[in-house]
Amino acid sequence: MLELGLQHSAMQERLLAVRAHLDKVYQPYAERLPLFCQPTLDWLNQDLLPTLVLLPNIGEAAEEAHNLALALEISFLAGRVHDLAALARKSQPSSNKLTSQAILVGDYLYAAAAIKMVNSGYNQWLGQVGRTLCRRSEGKLARLSWQTRAYVPETERILNIHKENAEGLALAAELAVAKLAWSPKERQAWTEFGFYVGQAQGILLLEPLLRRSDCLAFEDALLQAERALFNLPNLQAVAKEFLLKRLFNYDGDNKKKIK
């Protein structure tokens, strides 16, 4: 395993390559979308999936991990395009004509992601990708149905984030190490790390109210993610640096958030 500084620069280089490739795939279609249907590449969305895929592959063959990271990021983007268009349809019915293209761009990106996965040798995982898409759709529909309910319990909200976000990130993590010579325990640990990082991201994006002082769901998710890393000593430092600290301002060593 490379030392932390080298891991850092190798990661930066590979992330940039994935981002550049993604732009090439997505930009021609992004131009067809109205601004409110274009996912913003803000600090939280930026590179979470590619990082999760590329980190355990530092020092390994770059091409396979690059293609997988790209495929998963395209798939993530497809989901975001549909989310934004569905939201726009609900809140601004006059935007219907504009959002029509978003439906097709989303479907196109899903299919492009699947083809990329098959061409990269991950076709046997497509069933699980499909399953995750179904679970995500179920989660999104459940969230829509909450608008007619007076109260939705906290536990139900947290469980729904599993479907909407965490399971997708867990699958990405599982895929990232599928071809590495890791032990089952290490694979399990990285998958769990992905799941809890996805849970934390989901809370920030979808349930910001769950970050109030008497609810520890967000902190719990990050703590569990950090615990999962105990089984991966080689990745512990760089994963904390690239994901927990950079994306969530979480400094596990000090047991507190930086901000």
Binding site: G79, I103, Q128, V129, G130, S137
Partner: protein, 344 residues
């Protein structure tokens, strides 16, 4: 009316055999489809079940099945593929209905109309996700590639379709490119995947792809003719919907190209439709019906059906009754066209 009923009887007689084979040998597909879409989300379950139970011709699974039966494949090995094909088709219809703001599909209220556009987005995604799961059960990389490439092309076709809305100067080639992506590729993919699963030779797989492609082209031309010429009850949706939306089909393009007074008049009506004046739609439809455009479309569709017939010579002779059944599909299409335009 009596004449129409007589025609229907002829059609039923002609189509009886291939439909009977599909009905008898593929009866288990309905149950399999229903089981494939079980969900713990009530809305999703109701919406997906409603779509499946609304009927539909199951044409794509039927084609894949018949293609596979040419090489003596067993139905139980094909069920995941057949269900996946129907779910891809249904999922794409759900998304199309959001785009078209359609209220009726297969004579039933659409998902977007009943549950809202936002919910319909995810119902469509769910169906496509479930189709991916089912295809994975077949464990054949070629199916994954074929069907995902088809979905990709279908989306590209739809994305480019908007460019052609109300564009009267578009060529026949533009129209053929559009229907190729919209319909023919999924027909071709269905037949191709059936042949792949049946372990057909490369030549056999290619031949079935071409047969499905030509059939799909003919199917879409006929479907577009129906939109112009059939009544609402028969269609299960309002007549002239395509023209209203600016989707100019072959018969309309033919009429525009006549370069006479009829063409001028139609061009004027199309401009009015583009400006939101839907009152001219009945006159526009009447012009197309009287112009000979429907006969031209029927002749063109028939040429694609003849390509299908030529392809049938490449198939194995072992399954004669299946070959005959596939040939009957072509004859059924011809009868349908005859009902619309008479002899062509």
């Amino acid at each position: 009316m009596k004449k129409l009923l007589n025609r229907k009887t002829t059609e039923q007689k002609l189509s009886a055999k291939w439909r009977r084979i599909v009905k008898q040998e593929l009866g288990c597909l309905e149950g399999y489809l229903r089981d494939s879409i079980t969900s713990d989300d009530v809305l999703l379950q109701n919406a997906a079940l409603g779509l499946i139970e609304a009927g539909g011709k199951r044409l794509r699974p039927a084609l894949a099945y018949l293609a596979a039966r040419l090489w003596d494949a067993k139905v139980e090995d094909l069920l995941p593929l057949l269900a996946a094909l129907e779910l891809i088709h249904t999922g794409s219809l759900v998304h199309d209905d959001i785009i078209d703001e359609a209220k009726l599909r297969r004579g039933q209220p659409t998902v977007n109309h009943v549950y809202g556009d936002s919910a319909a987005f995810y119902v469509g995604d769910y169906l496509i996700g479930r189709a991916m799961e089912l295809i994975a059960l077949c464990q054949d990389e070629r199916l994954d590639l074929s069907l995902n490439r088809t979905i990709l092309q279908m989306c590209l076709g739809e994305l480019k379709q908007e460019r052609d809305f109300f564009r009267q100067e578009q060529s026949y080639r533009d129209y053929f490119n559009r229907i190729r992506r919209k319909t023919a590729l999924l027909f071709a993919g269905s037949c191709e995947c059936g042949a792949i699963l049946a372990k057909a030779s490369v030549e056999g797989v290619d031949s079935l792809w071409r047969w499905g492609y030509n059939l799909g082209m003919a199917f879409q031309i006929i479907d577009d003719m129906l939109d112009l010429a059939a009544d609402e009850k028969m269609l299960g949706k309002p007549t002239g919907n395509d023209l209203r939306q600016g989707n100019l089909s072959l018969a309309v393009l033919y009429t525009i190209r006549r370069g006479d007074e009829v063409a001028d008049c139609l061009a004027h009506y199309i401009n009015a439709l583009q400006n939101g004046d839907e009152s001219v739609l009945p006159q526009a439809l009447a012009l197309v019906r009287q112009s000979g455009g429907l006969s031209f479309a029927a002749e063109t569709a028939n040429r694609f059906l003849q390509n299908c017939e030529r392809e049938q010579d490449n198939w194995p002779n072992t399954a004669g009754y299946i070959k005959q059944a596939l040939n009957e599909v072509l004859q059924e299409f011809r009868v349908q066209m005859k009902n619309l335009v008479g002899d062509f």
